[in-house]
Amino acid sequence: MALFQDTPVTLLSRLEKCEEGPGHQKTWRVFFDLYHRPVRIAVATILERHQQSDETLIDDVVADVFVAFAKAKFSYNPDRGKFRNYLWQLITWKAMRALRNLNHHFREVEPLLLAELVDPNAPMPDARLTLPEIAACRVALLCSLMEDVRSQVGPQTFLIFELTKLRGVPPEEVALELGVKRNVVDNAVRRIMLKLKELALKPEYQREYHENHLG
């Protein structure tokens, strides 16, 4: 047995090891910033199927999902399946709970969903995502990858990449502004591309990218 566990390098692996405390507080906020949109789309889709489209209700359910994360009540276990399936299940459960509060018909459904969610051995069913959900998941996954790259390279390297490739500042201007040679700018971009590829090959990203409509 290893004396020291590997430091989780990706957001998804940090969520797997979620524990209460300041570190997790930071993780849930980063997670919220990246996954707010797919979660909101999924919540709205479920509620709309049951003729509920009230924005306040949608906000309440979205907040419920992230409070559950922030409180680390439902740790994600990759042995049970992909992260997005876990997320979809949690969203479904929270949405059903909200619907139950509006309509007694849902009282019988919730215990079944809850049992699946908290049973550590139960495999999670594949999420049946709509096209807007798939698109939002893809954006979240790419932004998550970018966020992980940011935490793995020096601040100047990322700044160069951000300025040249994400904000469209000409490389010559970036070099001048930062007081570095032009080849430093080119090398920074190359390093980030290599890092993107390196992180994309991590199992947690492989799980999420492949075998779904994301790929």
């Binding site: 906000d59 954006v139 790419l142 932004c143 994400l166 591309m193 993107l196 994309a200």
Partner: protein, 63 residues
């Protein structure tokens, strides 16, 4: 449809990206980055953060 990202995420692909592929992947990354950035600056986003933080604080106080 296959995209350049399929190559980036492909564990069996050791070939480096061509300049054109690199530009394509950066283009998609840029769109994702901008889309997310616009979302983060929307007032609804901050309002939801406030709701979540308030709930967390309330739960902490009642525990």
């Amino acid at each position: 449809m296959k995209t350049t990202w399929d190559k980036i995420f492909d564990p069996h692909s050791s070939a480096p990206l061509t300049s054109e592929e690199e530009e394509q992947s950066l283009e998609e990354l840029l769109l994702a980055y901008r889309e997310n950035e616009a979302l983060l600056s929307a007032p609804e986003h901050q309002r939801l953060v406030d709701i979540i933080e308030e709930r967390l604080l309330r739960e902490e106080l009642t525990e």
